[in-house]
Amino acid sequence: MTVAIHIENLTRRFNDLVAVDNISFDIEHGEIFGLLGPNGAGKTTTLSMLSTMLKPTSGSATVNGIDIERDEDGVRKSIGIVFQDQSLDEELTAWENMDFHGRLYRIPADIRKQRITELLRLVELEDRQHDIVKTFSGGMRRRLEIARGLLHHPSVLFLDEPTLGLDPQTRNHLWQYIATLAREKGITIILTTHYMDEADRLCNRIAIIDHGKIIALDTPKNLKDGIGGDVVTIRSPDPAAIVAALAEPWISRVEQHNDEVIVSLKNAEQHISTIVTLLNTKQVPIESIAIHKPTLEDVFLSFTGKTIREEEADHKTNMRMYQKMVRH
């Protein structure tokens, strides 16, 4: 395995806000690597630095062995990007958008034509290739952008929230494309998302990022195993009593979260009756009890003490305050 991306102490500040805080990791060639975190965690900022759109405040990184600060054009030639926000020319046709891109990347005319045909077929847009993009649905536009990002045969493809705002069916479809692409073309894919289930299914490895810091980095399986078994969520009017009652050696972790208690343990199905009996004898009231296999959502909660949604709500408040400060 060779290293596709090497990041060392990368930091980016916006005035007094530290968007990316001293992160370091490597991404291997051919990997599908997920950057997972709430909105505003620093995912897009990281991607912007790696794709030379934004200068780091400090630290360094290489993409395909090329330094992102020393040789911007070298990096740009070897990467493809699908931005979070749409970036097509709506007045042009699908073909013309592709052709524009091919010319910008100086792909010779005959190869350009052949690749455009091939890629538009791959993303199933060949019947609509001469239609103006304005008439395309959100999913079609996304597919076109992915095809465009691949036109110059990049060895690394950045996808920033590629499924944001799409319906579940289109999202599934798109992920299948991405998985197939990675396999067939052997390219490294770095994607950001805040859909935990998507990251879980698709990525070989995941970095969980929060407040600009990498708080966990591993395969989805290892991350979930780190929870310590299955997850039992008990809702009760007296959650503190549950925490006290469940101090047993066969329970790996007990955490109170608002009016819920989250219990991690191996083989939860076998122990559930014991838990209920235990709580009954100590006369702790139970409102509801649920068991599930650990998800990345649980991993996020265990590392940050918050669910990703709460974290986003917090962040919005922060951003609002920040914007007010800047304005005044």
């Binding site: 931005f83 010319r103 103006i132």
Partner: protein
């Protein structure tokens, strides 16, 4: 060169498809020409300039058409910013200068085409082009006006985040440039104290240059016109390129 062509080509494709824009931006100078031209033709005396008012007005309306179309084409970069397309261009392994020059040439081409249409329509209301050299001179001045003001539009657009300031720029910068240029009346007919103001308006030299080409008469020496508008177009291109380089993603 191929990158400049690529950007230019995109501008041309968009131009040809925007039928309503073509007609919209042709209508204003055309109406000016018809209403003012025919309305004032018998009233207005132009001592020492010769010809009638319509013939005097035609070069001004050609210049107006080029001016407004080119500023507008330059400012269009803001839309590219808002619709995200600018990112796609900026992240490609090409220089900002090439992008800016492609955009300038694209905008100038559309502007000259718009001016050319006014020119053609003018043939039906009294314009006689007897001298092909004069016609080429007029075309040369149209091209220089087009380049100057597309670059000017790009310079402005590079510093603006959205279209909210657009109206302000149009009313307080572009319209005075047009009004003071001698497009509608001979600059000598203004009060004496306004004379210097018209002479610092770069468009004055463009209008006078086109007028020299089309009618053979002008109030400013055509060589001076050429020098001034030539230098101005270079200055604007340099300024536009400088500010465009500083655009952040």
């Amino acid at each position: 060169m191929d990158i400049i062509y690529t950007i230019w080509l995109r501008n041309m494709k968009r131009y040809i498809r925007s039928k309503s824009r073509i007609i919209g931006s042709i209508s204003m100078p055309l109406f000016f020409l018809l209403f003012l031209g025919f309305g004032l033709n018998s009233v207005v005396q132009l001592p020492g300039i010769g010809g009638n008012y319509i013939v005097f007005l035609i070069p001004g309306m050609v210049a107006m058409s080029v001016l407004f179309t080119s500023v507008f084409s330059g400012i269009q970069i803001i839309w590219d910013k808002q619709f995200g397309f600018l990112k796609e261009t900026l992240v490609a392994p090409v220089s900002r200068l090439e992008i800016m020059l492609g955009q300038t040439l694209g905008g100038a081409t559309t502007a000259v085409l718009q001016g050319f249409m006014i020119l053609i329509l003018s043939l039906f209301i009294g314009l006689h082009v007897s001298n092909p050299v004069g016609f080429l001179i007029a075309l040369g001045f149209m091209i220089m006006i087009g380049i100057s003001f597309t670059a000017f539009g790009i310079a402005i657009a590079s510093r603006m985040e959205d279209m909210t300031g657009f109206q302000l720029i149009m009313n307080f910068v572009v319209f005075p440039i047009f009004g003071l240029s001698g497009a509608l009346f001979p600059i000598s007919s203004l009060p004496a104290w306004m004379g210097p103001v018209t002479l610092i308006d770069p468009l004055t030299y463009g209008v006078e240059g086109i007028r020299y080409g089309l009618t053979g008469v002008s109030q400013v020496n055509p060589l001076i016109c050429f020098a001034v508008i030539g230098v101005f177009s270079i200055m604007m291109t340099v300024l536009g390129a400088f500010l465009f380089r500083k655009i952040k993603f």
